[in-house]
């Protein structure tokens, strides 16, 4: 009889019972999925990206399916920090799973102010800074694609909070390693990658773009090879834990990211088509460890034979 393998990992001081987190923007504020899985069987929940003020987001159509994936241009619609504290946090408080707040600012100052506000919320286990949303024209994209600007915003957030600090990287860059290094130099204690790849879809009959925003972010299985490559490259270059994201649909996908160098993973688009995906993936990973005689998931991190 095999003993239960250790599934817990540590991300910037946040103890996760297993490496499976739910990606920002794909899991609402947790409660939406409570009927479909046990929120206390996943590693952590990352909230929909929060801004200082409520944000309307983009006009519709906002999503379109593409082969093996989907494009979205939601435009960071969110309830804002005040409503999050009043309406969403009371439920999250009842769940014994770390809550990581994803935050997004329209300006450098807003990033700092948000980080200070979140720093004051004891129930929040950590912060994931979104410097990489491809669908919003102000601010974000600049921080996400220029190492010097990324350094500046991460440094400001670092100076505004003592919470564990994760930075979410955009893949829409020439050199992902340069971006990763800049964020770590500025004080990021973990990196999550990748956010969506910018793309577009066209309706030939109407001769128009399908998304109202014209371009959107591609997610789903279609982007997994790109994400694996970037995690692998970044893991060779920096010493902080990585959180692999990109098209993870099952335990096999998740374990591939761990081998490539990720300490944990985020499940995103899979939540949309299977609301129990995150729990099933965590259980599937554990089963694989048992079947392959691996006592501790940490042994697998970066263990790719390459």
């Amino acid at each position: 009889m095999a003993t239960k393998p250790n599934m817990s990992v540590d991300i910037a001081g946040i103890k996760l019972r297993n490496p499976v987190m739910t990606a920002s923007g794909t899991f609402g504020y947790g409660r939406e999925f409570a009927d479909y899985l046990d929120l206390e069987r996943i590693g952590a929940m990352i909230t929909k990206g929060l801004s200082l003020k409520p944000k309307a987001g983009n006009p519709t159509p906002r999503i379109v399916e593409t082969p093996g994936g989907m494009l979205n241009a939601i435009g960071l619609q969110n309830v804002g920090i005040d409503a999050f504290i009043e309406e969403k946090l009371p439920f999250l408080r009842t769940v014994d799973t770390p809550v990581i707040v994803n935050l997004y600012g329209n300006s450098l100052e807003e990033y700092g102010e948000l980080a200070e506000r979140i720093d004051a919320i004891p129930e929040v286990a950590g912060i994931e800074v979104n410097i990489s949303c491809p669908n919003v024209k102000q601010g974000g994209i600049v921080f996400g694609t220029d190492p010097a600007a990324a350094y500046e915003v991460v440094k400001l957030v670092r100076d505004s909070t003592i919470k564990p600090l994760i930075v979410k990287l955009s893949p829409n860059v020439t050199d992902i390693v340069a971006m990763a290094r800049a964020c770590v130099d500025a004080g990021a204690e973990a990196l999550s990658l990748i956010n969506t790849l910018t793309g577009m879809a066209i309706d030939l009959a109407k001769r128009r773009p399908i998304l109202a925003n014209v371009t959107g972010g591609l997610s789903g299985p279609a982007i997994k090879p790109v994400a694996l490559r970037m995690v692998w490259q970044v893991s060779k270059a920096v010493d902080v834990p990585l959180i692999g994201i990109g098209g993870i649909m099952n335990a096999t996908d998740a374990l591939e990211f761990i081998l490539a160098g990720a300490t944990a993973v985020q499940v995103g688009t899979a939540n949309f088509l299977n609301p129990s995906a995150a729990q099933e993936i965590a259980e599937g990973m554990e089963l694989w460890l048992v079947e392959n005689g691996v006592a501790d998931v940490n042994e697998l991190i970066g263990s790719l034979r390459a």
Binding site: F27, G28, D35, A56, N72, G220, F272, P275
Partner: protein
């Protein structure tokens, strides 16, 4: 709830339109008219997402093949419009599906005694059939069904079997009056001043016309919307529609999946579409 299901039957009821009956757990019988299901063809990542369908009918039949001697089922009505629905149309009895159901909010049936006026077109008739089945128990029900051609006017016989009085209009006059069904509705309303409520489901221009009529004549009206959506549970925010007081400064987007798909027409902003 989330469950695995099998196709019981999948019949082309009109060119390009299919009616699919699938197995479901008994708890599905609590679903209300207007609620919907998300359907995924097993294992496929292309198409990746589930597809939303209004519930057309549900029930249970006697069978020797289940423990309790009964098999619960639900039915959808769909039109083949793309890859996902084309795959559904190719399924046969015994093929596997994954279902999320029931989702969203149903229609408020309103007080007994008032007349119920249903307006629909194409697959928009699906949730109206389930609704009519409930409404006929306590009220006089009329259906105004429209489409481009007679092939878009589905299941009229089934409505009539429930005792629903039906009025039909098609753009080309191949069935019923020639013209828009909302024109037929307007003529009917001009002659009948009794207490009534409107229930509409169909293409957006039809819903806009019904909402205008309801507003002008001060008749209560519920509309059921269709939208592209990824999740069906309020997480992706792909299916939003602007609420009455929505503006960029005071955002008031409603999720069709979670806040709807049924809305009072007065809850929504119609002008901006």
């Amino acid at each position: 709830m989330q469950f695995k299901s099998q196709v019981i039957s999948n019949v082309e009821v009109s060119p390009g339109y299919y009616r699919m009956r699938m197995t479901a757990p008994p708890a599905v019988l609590d679903a209300r008219p207007g609620q919907f299901v998300m359907v995924r063809v097993n294992g496929a990542i292309d198409p990746l997402l589930r597809r939303p369908f209004g519930i057309y009918d549900l029930g249970a039949f006697a069978t020797p093949y289940t423990d309790c001697g009964r098999q619960t089922f639900l039915e959808i009505l769909y039109r083949v419009v793309g890859k996902g629905t084309a795959m559904l149309a190719d399924l046969h009895q015994g093929d596997h599906l994954e279902i999320l159901a029931p989702l969203g909010n149903g229609f408020d049936l309103g007080p007994a005694g008032e007349d119920k006026v249903l307006v629909g077109g194409g697959v928009g008739l699906a949730p109206l059939y389930f609704l009519a089945r409930e409404l006929v128990k306590t009220a006089k029900v009329r259906l105004f069904a429209g489409g481009r051609t007679k092939e878009d006017v589905l299941c009229i016989t089934e409505f009539e079997r429930l005792g629903v009085e039906t009025y039909v209009a098609t753009d080309d006059g191949t069935l019923g009056d020639q013209g828009l069904v909302t024109e037929v509705l307007t003529r009917y309303l001009a002659d009948d001043s009794g207490s009534k409520q409107l229930f509409a489901c169909g293409p957006m221009p039809m819903l806009q016309a019904v909402a205008r009529i309801a507003a002008a004549q001060r008749i209560p009206c519920q509309v059921s919307l269709e939208a592209y959506m990824a999740c069906g549970m309020g997480a992706c925010l792909g299916c939003v529609v602007p609420g009455k007081h929505h503006s960029a400064e005071t955002p008031d987007y409603r999720c069709v999946c979670k806040d709807g798909p049924v809305f009072g027409y007065h809850e929504l902003q119609w002008e901006v579409r």
